[in-house]
């Protein structure tokens, strides 16, 4: 093992197909037109000295170190800003160039501290490298003159010197070491798209500054770390590197936070993680990341992590630590007892969207082969199950149609019910880049999300609809497209069922679907809807990206179908730049769905009633599989309350916090006799558990995650599991205790079984993934290299299916008691229920959940910004602090649900999507009023949680 050094070509690759041949230092090189001389040289293995260039961003040409000479041309052009030309002869090293470069370096070094030996970047500093490369041997100027290096100069205070900025929890800015190459500024602009940094001042006075000469924490900075990665010196440095030192080996792995699935190099010193650096070859993220993936891994060492298995008789008892063997034996005997007593169908399991494909596969296998029923579900139920249903109906497969690279070819992006800058930051950065290049943007969201207006980006249309009216708006857009003759009939005739199209077109053309008619309840002016529809239909490549604001509604599945209809009617499917793209919440939502986590389907989305599919697994597993669908999470809880469901194995999920109607979830869990929670921490669900099995983090195991673009990425173990065993091994031991004959020695063997049984994974293996880096399913004989874009020559189901989408108002309505609509979401620095991110320094950005409320509604209720308020719905009430903002429309309030004390889901109701029971998180009728403290429920809950976290023999851990 060694440190992976990625080649920096100095400037981005050219996309041109035309090739140009030139000579550099006597070698002939052929490169695409538009390539810089610097990059062409690197292609030929010649490294031209450079400081201000990096292939992550456009050339800038400020350091003058990369000069070259071209035969027949005067002067010494900068190789980073000079494109190649046919036949030119370039020299990168001549006596003249050597002199100039030394002179340049001498000037740099004369204003730079010479504490290399104790500098955090020692060994990883490009300034140091370049001094070596140009053969700098002495510096003629001392620090007596003007400089930025010393706090005092000749006894006087040096006004040019600035102290370190250590405000960001993860990196420091030491202006004394800055060479003003502006790589950080350009990274923030071009790679991240936040524009938080500027170069202030001119000439020798110029300095990098965050925001308006603020510190990093107070500026617009979102802590993505792109600037830190770009900085060639120690000016911007990870605090972990300062603390630990330079890494000595690295391993490529995949972020465990969101559905973008960024690839990282985990840079290590022994078993200690020094830092995470986004991997340039990662095809989802192309060398970029967000604050969570790059910095928020500290939870894996948090003191709250539970490392020993624990058991208790009753949930009111304190926990008792036991051996793994005892724990397995206990679970096995309890589950057998329950099944004997209450029937085979009285137990089930929940797979995790945070665990690997292999672990998920094993949990559903344990349920199907070990428990002998199909009572398995996953938390994707509460986020993207409507995607599965809706896209499955329309296209024949339940996955996004594009890769993330596709956005580079998009002309009109439509974002519906998603907040990518917070939820899918790296995708947002890539989208913003495309928008700055001129692509148009339509945002359909009740809230004015950040992407609507941000530096150098302005949405052409923002449709601020009433929560719950997605179907009405999208059907209205279809109405405009059909009635104004904007449908792509050629595409439809070729690719879709024409008679279904005619039926659908007649349906959407009905006058009651017109924007003028729907305006009354969607609240969106008709002209905006018409404009947006025309733009999407006629603006070139149109791509739809959507999130939980689409799925978490009583008409979630219908909305997904409406989206599919729009893409088909405009012919926006089956090539780069277009498509329908669900933005998945958790890292492995896609994978957990693929792996047969739903109670009605086996891996690869094959219905449980299909005899041939069952037979495949029955033969391999040597058991009979029930042909009846099992219970979904909400049905399990209902059955528990009814007394027919008594035991559950929950891997890596916190249903008490993440599922709606907390009180009902609590009642269901309380009615069970054996609740087994397998997780890193004593999560909220564990308050109701009888057995706790410690889990492992993504750093501690091998496996794969599948991201939102169907990309199967390797997760690689970089350290020994603190709890002793990766999760897949725990499930296997549990299965063995229940008498199943499982003998996987490595997760790769599990993947082999998946490939052998699931046609869309047929060619996937760890060896193959090592070879290709990653692959997008389907990956089989027909698509040996995987499938970046789906439905290219035809839909998976054959003909695309248009489906009528009638708007039905949700039964969750406002009235005199609950006059406001609550909608929920997430923010950048925190992740889902926050169990991980809350245990990192990310809390500095989001210490609590706040309720966003419009100034008008706040004033009516006498609420000031920051006041404690009571938030009540017919399901329950909670308290939190207010945040007054006009991002939300009057009548709408908004909050996140990252902190357990807020218990936002005490408020949400049990209404759900008609097709999949995906809960309706996005619409709850509520009332808001001033309050002076936590609700009774919060007080009781806190006390109960505290009680149920007691471990005998251990002092109570303070939260």
């Amino acid at each position: 093992m060694s440190l992976i050094h990625e080649i920096d070509y100095g400037t981005p690759a050219s996309k041109s197909e035309k090739l140009v041949t030139l000579t550099i230092d006597g070698c002939e090189v052929t490169v695409p037109e538009g390539t810089s001389i610097m990059r062409a040289a690197m292609d030929a293995g010649i490294e031209v000295p450079k400081l201000c260039a990096s292939d992550m961003m456009d050339a800038f040409g400020s350091c003058r170190l990369c000069l070259v000479e071209i035969k027949g041309r005067a002067g010494m052009p900068a190789s980073c800003t000079t494109p190649v030309a046919a036949g030119i002869e370039v020299s990168t090293q001549t006596p003249r160039l050597k002199d100039v470069r030394r002179g340049v370096m001498e000037l740099y070094i004369s204003d730079h501290p010479l504490d290399c030996l104790t500098c955090a970047a020692n060994g990883d500093c490009e300034l140091q490298d370049m001094a070596g490369a140009v053969g700098l041997r002495d510096v003629r100027y001392g620090y007596e003159g003007e400089n930025h290096v010393t706090a005092r100069n000749n006894g006087e205070i040096n006004a040019k010197w600035l102290p370190k900025d250590e405000s960001n929890p993860y990196f420091t800015y030491d202006p004394a070491k800055c060479i003003v190459c502006s790589r950080c500024v350009r990274a923030c602009e071009e790679v991240q798209g936040t524009f938080a940094l500027t170069i202030g001042g001119r000439g020798f006075d110029s300095r990098v500054s965050a925001g308006m000469a603020e510190d990093f924490m107070s500026s617009e900075c979102v802590s993505c770390g792109a600037c830190v990665q770009a900085c060639p010196t120690a000016t911007l440095t990870e605090k972990s590197v300062i603390e630990i030192g330079q890494p000595e080996h690295s391993v490529v792995t995949t972020c465990a936070y969101c559905g973008v699935g960024c690839s990282f190099k985990a840079e290590m010193r022994g078993e200690e993680l020094v830092r995470m650096v986004p991997w340039k070859d990662g095809q989802a993220n192309r060398g970029h990341s967000c604050v969570k993936g790059r910095f928020a891994y500290g939870y894996s060492n948090h003191k709250d992590r539970i490392l020993n298995p624990m058991i208790r008789e009753k949930i009111s008892d304190p926990w008792r630590e036991v051996t793994w063997e005892e724990a397995y034996a206990h679970v096995a005997s309890e589950f057998r007892r329950i099944q004997y007593q209450y029937g085979r169908d009285s137990v089930g399991g929940i797979t995790s969207s945070r665990c690997t494909n292999e672990e998920t596969y094993l949990v559903q296998k344990l349920v199907r082969a070990g428990f002998g029923n199909n009572n398995v579900d996953t938390c994707a139920r509460v986020c993207h199950s409507p995607t599965g249903y809706g896209l499955g109906q329309a296209f024949g497969t339940s996955a996004g149609t594009q890769n993330f690279d596709s956005v580079e070819f998009t002309d009109v992006a439509v974002i519906i019910g998603a907040n990518p800058t917070d939820g899918h930051p790296v995708f947002a950065s890539r989208l913003k880049k495309r928008l700055r290049e001129g692509a148009k943007l339509i945002v359909i969201d009740p809230r004015r999300t950040d992407i609507v207006r941000s530096p150098h980006i302005e949405a052409s249309y923002h449709l601020p609809l009433q929560p719950g009216t997605n179907v009405a708006i999208l059907t209205s857009m279809a109405h405009v497209i059909v009635t104004e003759g904007l449908a792509d009939e050629k595409f439809i005739r070729e690719r879709c069922d024409w008679s279904e199209y005619e039926d659908w077109a007649a349906f959407v053309a009905e006058p009651y679907h017109s924007p003028e008619a729907t305006e009354a309840y969607t609240g969106v002016p008709a002209e905006l809807v018409r404009g947006a529809a025309r733009l999407y239909a006629t603006g070139g490549n149109g791509a739809i990206y959507y999130g939980l604001g689409v799925t978490e509604h009583s008409q979630g599945s219908t909305t997904v179908m409406a989206i599919a209809n729009l893409s088909m009617v405009t012919g926006n499917i089956g090539r780069p730049g277009v498509g329908v793209n669900p933005l998945r919440g958790q890292n492995n939502v896609q994978g957990s769905c693929d792996m047969g986590s739903f109670p009605h389907e086996l891996p690869g989305y094959r219905h449980i009633s299909d005899d041939a599919t069952r037979e495949t697994f029955e033969k391999l597993w040597g058991v009979e599989i029930s042909n009846e669908p099992g219970l979904r999470i909400p049905n399990m809880l209902d059955a528990a309350v009814d007394g027919t469901f008594k035991g559950i194995y929950i891997q890596g999920e916190d249903i008490l916090q993440s599922d709606p109607d907390t009180k009902h979830v609590a009642a269901g869990l309380a009615a069970m006799e054996c609740v087994v929670v397998h997780d890193l921490f004593l999560n909220e669900t564990a308050n109701y558990a009888h057995v706790f099995l410690p889990g492992s983090t993504f750093l501690e195991k091998d496996g794969t995650f599948t991201n939102a673009e169907r990309r199967i990425n390797r997760v690689r173990k970089v350290m020994t599991p603190k709890n002793g065993y990766p999760d897949w091994e725990v499930t296997q031991k549990l299965a063995q205790a229940m008498g199943l004959n499982w003998n996987y020695r490595h997760p790769s063997e599990i993947m082999d079984e998946i490939a052998a049984t699931t046609p869309s994974f047929a060619l996937v293996s760890y060896d193959y993934l090592d070879k290709l880096g990653s692959v997008q399913w389907p990956c089989n004989e027909k698509h040996p290299e995987g499938s970046p874009i789906m439905h290219v020559d035809g839909f998976v189901r054959g003909k695309g299916k248009f489906i009528r989408t009638e708007y039905v108002a949700t039964d969750e309505r406002t009235g005199p008691r609950f006059p406001l609509l609550l909608t929920t979401g997430r923010i950048l620095s925190q992740y889902n229920v926050g169990a991980q991110t809350r245990r990192t320094d990310n809390v500095v950005w989001h210490a609590e959940d706040r309720l966003e409320i419009h100034p008008h509604d706040a004033e009516q209720r006498g609420i000031r910004d920051g006041d404690w308020i009571r938030l009540a719905s017919r399901a329950g009430e909670t308290t939190l602090r207010s945040l007054i903002t006009d991002r939300v429309a009057p009548g709408v309030v908004y909050t996140t649900f990252h902190h357990p004390t807020t218990q936002a889901n005490v408020i949400t109701t049990d209404f759900s999507d008609w097709a999949t029971n995906c809960p309706e998180y996005k619409v709850t009728a509520v009332q808001v009023m001033p309050s002076n403290g936590p609700s009774d429920w919060q007080v009781d809950y806190d006390e109960q949680a505290r009680q149920s976290r007691r471990i005998s023999g251990k002092l109570e851990a303070a939260e």
Binding site: S609, L631, A667, W914
Partner: protein, 77 residues
């Protein structure tokens, strides 16, 4: 929460499904409801639905009742 409550939930869910299929082409509606319930409802849930239908089916929309003939009756528990 009582059995009645679970029943009320099932009725609500069945009606919700019917509401969607009611808007689909007429000749597909009842089959649509039945197929959906057959594919996604665990036998316990279907059994309860039938118990309720056999008791008169109060609260169920006509389309659910029409679809009932096509819904698979689970074996007795």
């Amino acid at each position: 929460m009582s059995h009645d409550n679970t029943n009320a939930k099932l009725i609500y869910m069945a009606n919700q499904i019917a509401t969607f299929f009611k808007s689909q082409p007429q000749n597909e509606a009842a089959q649509g409801v039945a197929t959906h319930i057959n594919k996604y409802w665990e036998p316990r849930m279907r059994r309860k639905l039938f118990e309720h239908i056999d008791n008169g089916g109060e609260g169920l929309t006509p389309l659910v009742l029409e679809a009932a003939a096509k819904i698979k009756r689970p074996e007795a528990a």
